[in-house]
């Protein structure tokens, strides 16, 4: 019996671990900007979690380049494959740029970039309020784009799993088939 070919164990661990981190990050980001009382506590999580996502994204992308992913279901057409590949690279691009823009905008605002306790990151950009304003706006827009991309990705996988039933998700699970 031929089981579904799977992503490597590291790829699967990074996928699910980062899925939780990124979704949590998007909700933390939205909530901290909207909550006067939770702003400080959430920001204390937002900054180090963002840097962790940046590091994981780099590790994951390198791992992705070094390993060929398992084949997509044969029934998928050319544009479906293109959409799958395009959305994958969009997710990588956003997970990479969002933390960098966050880091850059805090630098441009002239804030110290505190990760935890006395642990701080160096500034990425010179202090410039106008630049900060642009980056701050970009951070929000890209975060909503990442949320849209995540939601599309999740709904597409659900569609494959619940409607098409083509075992696409089996490539990313830990369950033996």
């Amino acid at each position: 019996m031929s089981g579904t070919e799977k992503f490597g164990v590291l790829a699967r661990l990074l996928h699910w671990g980062m899925a939780v981190m990124v979704v949590a990050m998007l909700f933390i980001g939205a909530a901290m900007v909207a909550s006067p009382t939770a702003y400080d506590a959430l920001q204390d999580v937002h900054r180090p979690l963002g840097m962790l996502i940046l590091v994981f994204t780099v590790v994951r992308f390198v791992n992705r380049l070094r390993h060929r992913p398992p084949a997509l279901p044969p029934a998928m057409g050319r544009w479906e494959r293109a959409a799958a590949k395009g959305s994958e690279y969009l997710l990588y691009a956003l997970m990479f740029t969002l933390p960098l823009i966050g880091w850059g905008m805090l630098s441009a605002a002239g804030y110290p970039i505190v990760l935890y306790g006395p642990l701080r990151l160096p500034g990425l950009l010179p202090s410039d309020p106008a630049l900060y304003a642009v980056l701050r706006q970009t951070h929000t827009v890209l975060a909503y784009l990442l949320f849209a991309a995540f939601l599309t990705h999740a709904c597409a996988v659900l569609f494959h799993t619940l409607v098409l039933r083509d075992r696409l998700l089996g490539r990313m699970t830990f369950r033996r088939e």
Binding site: M1, S2, L26, F27, A30, A31, M32, V33, A34, S35, P36, T37, A38, Y39, D40, A41, Q43, P73, P74, A75, A109, G110, Y111, P112, G117, P118, R120, P122, G123, S127, P129, A130, Y132, A133, V134, R136, Q137, F147, L151, A154, C155, L158, F159, T161, L162, V163, R165, D166, R167, E177
Partner: protein, 371 residues
């Protein structure tokens, strides 16, 4: 469940048989997907404060400042009128008893400051009772910073962000009388009795003659931790080193008379304040800035702040600094006071708005005052 494995679709016979496709299961699948998508969008919208519409968000706070004072592009939403200042803090080492922050070790720390008047009008006429502010940014080694925004009131007027938000509307002067609507104010004070008590404390501390002889208080409590790891609640103040004069009852001429006097004084000689740390005892309120601590609490004289120049607000000086009270060095941390996080959030909202707006020159012009 024989029908589940019955029909393998043609074309991919290498795969194991799959569950039967039925219109019913496909529609259920689509409904589940729609539900998941909607829940995701709704969840994020809720987390982001999009609903309910009356939730108190930092953006609505900033909106209320614009509602009360109008929108003045490029200026702070509160404490809009101000002047940049520069100087240094000389620590005598006494503060290390309660905090390991490097600012308290003996030595000199460069400081960027800003004197301001409360309110959202950048060209408001100076009046004696208008709350005076002093924001400070201590430039510590290796890019570490300590920012603090202090005012010349002995206690803060509000215990909660909601109270502050409500007071802004209740205390809004009527155009006819120039005073708040007495009915609205009475209703507000009935709902927020802590503000009435705080106002009584403020009345016992009339303002001094000017910026130079005001005592500036951080009001919110913080937690200081020393090298040994011991943590105590602390409130800090800047007490004028020079003589203190009583505020005048008749307003001197000139829209900017308080700023003019400050600029003239700094031109003559550096201004000095003592940084005093008041150490709380267990049971002292750390989550309520409207309550003074008992007068017998121990104080530590941590050193001297010297302001030796003032500058018209411009790129690169205090104009571009957000005096966020939660940018703290290692050794000082926030207390459980709900105002601290709210101040940090609303200051950030104000900073983000003005950072992206076109700039007009500040009405407080140091070079003009000197002429």
């Amino acid at each position: 469940m024989t029908d589940e494995t019955a029909a393998a679709p043609p074309g991919d016979s290498a795969d194991p048989p799959r569950k039967e496709w039925s219109r019913r299961s496909a529609l259920l699948g689509l409904a589940a997907i729609g539900g998941a998508g909607t829940a995701g969008i709704g969840g994020l919208a809720y987390a982001g404060g999009r609903f309910p519409a009356d939730r108190l968000t930092p953006a609505r706070f900033a909106d209320r400042f614009e509602q009360v004072y109008g929108k003045h592009a490029g200026f702070r939403r509160n404490h809009a009128k101000g002047v940049s200042a520069a100087g240094y803090f000389t620590a005598d080492g006494a503060g290390t008893e309660v905090s390991r922050a490097t600012v308290f070790a003996p030595g000199r720390t460069p400081v960027t400051g800003r004197f301001s008047l409360s309110g959202g009008l950048p060209d408001a006429p100076d009046t004696a009772p208008t709350v005076r502010g002093l924001g400070l940014l201590f430039h510590l080694p290796d890019g570490e910073q300590w920012r603090t925004a202090m005012i010349n009131l002995p206690v803060f007027l509000d215990r909660t962000p909601q109270g502050f938000y409500a007071r802004m509307l209740a205390a809004r002067p009527l155009p006819a009388t120039g005073k708040p609507d007495p009915e609205k104010m009475a209703a507000f004070l009935a709902e927020y009795p802590e503000t009435a008590k705080a106002m009584a404390v403020v009345k016992r501390h009339p303002p001094t003659s000017g910026f130079h002889d005001s005592t500036y208080n951080a009001l919110n409590a913080f937690r200081c931790t020393n090298e040994a790891g011991d943590t105590v609640p602390v409130r800090w103040s800047l007490k004028p080193a020079g003589p203190v004069g009583a505020g005048s009852t008749t307003a001197p001429p000139g829209r900017d008379h308080l700023f003019d006097a400050l600029i003239a004084k700094v031109a003559r000689e550096p201004l000095r304040w003592r940084l005093v740390l008041t150490v709380g005892r267990p049971g002292d309120p750390t989550d309520d800035a409207t309550l003074p601590w008992p007068g017998d609490r121990r104080t530590i004289d941590a050193g001297t702040l010297t302001i030796d120049s003032v500058q018209t607000e411009a790129a690169g000086n205090a104009r571009d600094v957000n005096f966020d009270p939660l940018i703290l060095p290692d050794g000082i941390a926030a207390s459980d006071d709900p105002l601290l996080s709210a101040r940090s959030a609303v200051y950030s909202q104000s900073f983000t708005r003005r950072a992206g707006e076109p700039k007009t020159p500040s009405p407080v012009d140091v070079t003009k005052e000197r002429r």
